[in-house]
Amino acid sequence: MQVKTTKENGMNDERYIRNERMLSPEENRQLRSFRVAVVGCGGLGGYLIEMLARLGIGHLTVIDADVFEASNLNRQLFSLPGNLGEPKAHEAGRRVKLINPDISCTVVQQRLNTENAGDILAGHDVICDALDNVSSRRAVEASASRLGIPMVFAAIAGWYAQVGTVMPGQQLMNKIYPEEVEKGAEKHLGNPSFTPALAASLQVAETLKVLLGKEGVLRNKLLMINTLDHEYQVIDI
């Protein structure tokens, strides 16, 4: 079955029809002009990339230096028994093409650090932090701030997650990570399938609101998620 397209804007009419009530037609069109970088293509990143591609964000840059391992299969959306050993960023790029041929995708198989982050992240409208270590998160936050790009943060550990948005000039990492800490509670809790999916969904909602200039962004705030006791609270940070 063919997906119907309109000649005026080249968009697939039917593809976005379920987005067209919660966003205005103009907002939906706008999504095609945005560029979003997803740093990390693992637990959070896989779900982020999947959802951003289905929303129709015009350009995605997907960044990860690692390859898939068997221990990723419990939660990382793009990991499969058949692609273990393959670079995560390449598999993410392949998935984007399969999901949505309307949008473009740049694949970066590198680890971001203070030297290369500026060049890789420049020119994006939002950066989604889907990393798994504090020093890389700090490097991305510093680059995002220098470049004037909002960064949407999430971190997970077992039953727990945190989500927030860092606007340029603000700092989050030095408020939520002690100086010597590189990993958090995930070091002994690990991560299941559902926490990254939940946190990534909230990151996508934040990303969409930032891109479209909507209210209700978690600016100077952090959403603390506890799925074990079902406690969800927003704290000022």
């Binding site: 002690p178 990993k183 002994h188």
Partner: protein
């Protein structure tokens, strides 16, 4: 004086979620975590009465101290 301590996520393991502590006047959140056997590196976010707090700030009677561990996975 009595302060209320609210523990979150993994800091609850082996402890209650909400603890009432009897402390000497002049006590700080640093004293609270020592008394509870929590290491300072396991506390990422410290709130006093819902606002950003410091380990060495002097607490008042009826204050609420909230402690969150670092969460960093992706």
């Amino acid at each position: 004086m009595v302060v209320t301590v609210r523990l979150f996520a993994t800091l609850r393991e082996g402890r209650d979620k909400v603890i009432q502590l009897e402390l000497d006047s002049g006590s700080t959140p640093g004293d609270v975590i020592d008394q509870l056997g929590i290491s300072q590196k396991d506390v990422a976010i410290l709130l006093v009465n819902g606002r950003d707090g410091q380990m060495d700030q002097v607490l008042s009677s009826q204050d609420t101290v909230s402690l969150f561990p670092p969460v960093g996975g992706g």
